[in-house]
Symmetry: C2
Subunit: 460 residues, 2 copies
């Protein structure tokens, strides 16, 4: 049974022309995201203009039909899966870069521009937009903003929310709002633009963004530091973050991750390495050696096994090989993987990793930790056999304990993946009842009929 | 006629003990702020705990009595003036620094901690909190957050909103909410903490803040660049901001400001200087020379009259003397001053200054521009005789045109001072009706009875 009345369907068909799709095979193509979950929408809309988005949302609002914004579906939490049916609005046709103003360090883009395409367009100007999720080549700016995407560079340059100046968006009643100004400072009313970032399409549909750009450093250089154990590595992370040279990346691998990268991935790592840090600095050719020197000094300390400096880009690639060898290796442990990106204050990384290791023993399941140590944002990868019902249940019970652990350490559920469907049941543990009620009130202010991406982010 | 019933007054007296003040002289001391406006509150509350704030707001909510949060009243917009009466809540007793965690680059403070006291406490840890408004020594962190205070350092390190991790606050219904987590990344629900920053006490009362700290640079060095005219200086600003070394300060003075600093302030400035940039870099002793070199290269160009490098702290102070000589000199032009801090994209600074100069001619009133050029955030100082009714009216008409000019250049009303009472009538020009309606809906979600700082920020 379609949620769309024939009258609404024909109204939206007239609005969108061949950008209106109700064919089952088309709907199937927009039913999923990278969470492996799926649910068929009633229709797919491919608007080409903001005016079409406004008209579409107004029609859906009047008919109380769900509207689900979609970039390219690369998110991992189910945030783009239309669990309640309705109309998926894909921004693939709104993919123009409208303006690049180097002197203002600003680019204005439509929501459907790919992150990678934007970076290519910025390169000749010597600028970049900092968010660098793994999916950057094929994820959209609008999707990055909706999920507050980060990546390794966030430790120095911030995540999506830190790199947005202004947004144009369509609320749940179909009002077009203009949030913020394309200036790097502003104290004119409420900051609605950063509120929309990370709201996963539940407050408004972003149609245009003015992004804050950063001048591209001329050079970069990487260090690989091996430590006896996680605790020594975590101490080094705290030392690295407490001195003035902020690394442009600071990635961590625990003992299991190091072992996997060596034994399965073939990375050149000595057996005594119980943890690894990839440390990178960027800058100009003249000052980079001093930055690397400062980072080396901070990396040194009790438990350091070896410290390698990749003086050129080829050596850098070799150092990164250990990190890249990791993800494919994980599948050798078990076919199923739950990958959650909890975040804790940097000083609590040792307790997080220790706690995860003891959960791994308690639940008899391998759990491998690696990720963005400079932000305390670790990817906790639990490996299991999904077809084994008991192991499946154990895996999910263990993950619930990982969340509880991160929260008990002053951290939170997600650093950059978001909540979507995957973690909403844990929201009441992370956020107390009055604050959740406040979030619900904010949701109702933007979307009184509750048509925008229902069933996501906030728990029932 | 007091808005406080005897029952409410005695309930609040019982709650706050001698932290409850209704004596007229006490009320007078909390009636004003740095805007020169004043209005008597019905009472002043000096809570010592968040529990007292919760109980106070609940009682005032039930009785529909206004509640006005107050730091130290240093803001310039009237945001702390209790125009509708009610209870001023001064946070002067909630002034504890609760925690400093250098490895996490985080400090946890009560709202009433002075910015200057925090900086002193951070110094031994080699850390600082970036917001540096002129009032830093005697303004509170809570007030800085409420107004999204900035300062010269914002060009490199961001304003208040960019340097907050988590907030604990009391909403207009007296609910205690916990917004955000003390981690540098987060994608767990709506970002209420940055929404509260800059909301001028109209959404909630901030009682505790987890602040993002930055390692203190070991050294700094200043340049003074003089240009033939504003346009040459503005071109230099765009060049400076388009290269990778972000200055730690980038301050601008227009031709009138240069003339005043020289003729009245006694600063050592040649007559051919039609504009001035103070450019500062920070870093460590080894890399600072390279940063200064990069900034000098960017500062050079058409219209440069002279470029002085202050190699030591004494020379730096001498360079800054020109800037500091300015404010006292302004009063020699006329006794009255309207100082507004409009902001435009950096590339539009020449048009802003040109436009302001022609407004100065049109209205026959001196207008002097200086300020934070790296953010496009200029302080436009209009000098006039307030007691002359015609001139008074002309001054305010001219200022309205300055706002219209900034908006026409893609800028906005305020970069760091906020809206308060002073600019709320201009909000409908800056923000379109659907977006203002959305802001009102957000206000209603946090403060359904409208008791928090009524008459501020949003227009009637």
């Amino acid at each position: 049974m379609s949620l769309l009345s024939p009258a609404l369907a024909s109204r939206l068909h007239a609005l969108l022309g061949e950008g209106w799709r109700t064919d089952p095979s088309e709907r199937l193509a927009y039913a999923y995201d990278n969470s492996r979950r799926h649910s068929l929408p009633d229709a797919v809309a491919l608007p080409a203009t903001r005016e079409q988005v406004v008209a579409l949302v107004r029609a859906c609002h009047d008919a109380r039909v769900p509207v689900i914004a979609r970039g390219r579906g690369t998110n991992t939490t189910g945030a783009a899966v239309p669990v309640a049916g309705g109309v998926v609005v894909s921004f693939e046709r709104m993919n123009r870069i409208l303006d690049i103003r180097p002197g203002d360090r600003c680019a204005v883009v439509e929501a459907g521009v790919l992150n990678g395409d934007l970076q290519s367009a910025l390169k000749p100007h010597g600028l970049f937009w900092p968010p660098d999720p793994t999916s950057a080549a094929y994820s959209t700016v609008g999707g990055n903003l909706a999920c507050n995407a980060g990546g390794p560079r966030a430790v120095k340059y911030g995540a999506s929310r830190d790199n947005v100046l202004a947004l144009t968006a369509v609320t749940g009643t179909g009002e077009l709002i203009h949030c913020g100004t394309a200036t790097t400072k502003g104290a004119t009313g409420y900051d609605l633009q950063r509120l929309l970032v990370g709201s996963e399409g539940t407050l408004a549909l972003i149609v245009e963004a003015s992004l804050r750009l950063t001048p591209m450093p001329q050079a970069r250089r990487a260090l690989r530091a091996l430590y006896r154990d996680v605790s020594s590595a975590a101490q080094a992370v705290a030392r690295l973050m407490a001195q003035p040279v902020t690394p442009s990346m600071l990635e961590f691998m625990d003992g299991d991750a190091v072992r996997l990268a060596r034994d399965v991935g073939g990375a050149d790592l000595p057996p005594e390495a119980g943890a690894l840090l990839m440390i990178e600095a960027d800058g100009d050719a003249q000052t980079l050696p001093f930055a690397i020197e400062a980072l080396m000094r901070a990396a040194e300390g009790d438990g350091l096994v070896s410290l390698d400096d990749a003086a050129d880009e080829a050596s850098r690639e070799k150092l990164w090989a250990a990190r890249k060898a990791l993800s494919p290796s994980l599948r050798t442990l078990a076919p199923g993987k739950i990958n959650e990106d909890v975040v804790v204050p940097v000083s609590r990384i040792p307790q997080l990793v220790d706690g995860v290791q003891s959960l791994s023993r308690e639940f008899a399941l391998p759990i491998v930790c690696f990720g963005h140590a400079g932000n305390g944002n670790l990817h906790v990868n639990l490996l299991y056999h999904p077809e084994d019902a008991a192991e499946n249940a154990r895996a999910h019970a263990a993950m619930a304990r990982v969340f509880a652990l991160a929260l008990s350490l002053g951290g939170t559920l997600s650093g950059e993946h978001g909540i979507g469907l995957a973690k909403r049941e844990f929201m009441p543990q992370a956020i107390d009842a009055p604050t959740l009620a406040m979030m619900r009130a904010v949701k109702a202010a933007f979307d009184p009929a509750g048509i925008l991406n229902p069933g996501k982010l906030l728990p029932d």
